[in-house]
């Protein structure tokens, strides 16, 4: 057994009591969703405070990682709607999960509808085309940047090659 003496109790759980019902799996609670959104809001603040050119990728990667996990559980849309309800954000018709999460976590005065749409399309393109072993930054840069990924997604949706694909 690990010697806990001297460790702040926070790290080994402050209470040994468990609340029923006890389950075999871990439900995604409202509190956990709130923590996920808070992390993205922090990532947004950090990228805004940074002077680095690629700082936005930190935020976009955080958004991508969250929605990719939701998607793997086939729960992206309903969890995005839960996020909106949690933050009392009015839903838009046919808004997809990436756009919802961006609207919930980035400054709405700095990220307008057009930018949100562009980022969302780039992230959806990565969700469809990127392999899990490649990082989002590497993928987007390899594909020519955020704008080009957004354009490629639009072409992908229309079922025809993007004019940008010809330069590959």
């Amino acid at each position: 057994m690990t010697n806990l003496e001297g460790l702040p109790s926070y790290f080994w759980l402050t209470s040994s009591r468990l609340k029923p019902p006890v389950r075999d799996d871990v439900p995604y609670t409202t509190e956990a969703l709130k923590q996920d959104l808070l992390r993205l809001q922090n990532a947004w603040e950090e990228c805004q405070a940074s002077r680095e050119r690629d700082a936005i990728y930190g935020y976009l990667s955080a958004v991508f990682d969250l929605v990719a996990w939701w998607t793997a559980e086939n729960r992206a849309l309903d969890r995005a709607h839960s996020a909106q309800r949690l933050l009392h954000i009015i839903p838009f018709e046919n808004e997809e999960p990436f756009a919802v999460v961006i609207r919930c976590t980035a400054d709405r005065e700095k990220v307008d509808k057009r930018t949100r749409s562009k980022w969302s399309r780039a992230l959806r393109y990565a969700l469809v085309q990127k392999t899990p072993s490649e990082s989002l930054v590497q993928f987007i840069k390899r594909k020519g940047g955020i704008n080009r990924c957004a354009e490629r997604f639009r072409a992908h949706q229309r079922g025809r090659p993007s004019r940008l694909l010809s330069s590959e």
Binding site: M1, T2, L4, G6, L7, P8, Y10, F11, W12, L13, S16, R17, L18, V22, R23, D24, D25, V26, P27, Y28, T29, E31, A32, Q35, D36, L38, R39, D65, L66, A68, W69, A72, E73, P132, S133
Partner: protein, 83 residues
């Protein structure tokens, strides 16, 4: 199936499990670990993401890692102040 976790989180989940297991002898290890992970996720110390194989894994959150680093720094400072 076991919960997939990164090394740091695995260590602290094991510590918490050892701490509470004697109080919950009727529960399986999986049930206890699930409860601990639930608590960690709710307080923002653990999160779920996809790994490089596209599988869901549990990871220590940036906030938790930062708290651990602070605790380690405090411990080092205390040790340095020791007569």
């Amino acid at each position: 199936m076991k919960f997939r976790m990164d090394k740091t989180l695995r260590f602290w989940i094991d510590v918490a499990y050892e701490h509470i297991k004697s109080h919950h002898y009727k529960l399986t290890k999986r049930q206890l670990v699930a409860q601990i992970l639930l608590k960690y996720a709710q307080r923002g110390d653990a999160l779920r993401r996809l790994n490089k194989q596209g599988k869901i894994v549990w990871k220590a959150s940036p906030r938790f890692l930062s708290m651990l680093a602070d605790a380690e720094r405090d411990a080092r400072d205390d040790l340095a102040d020791w007569p």
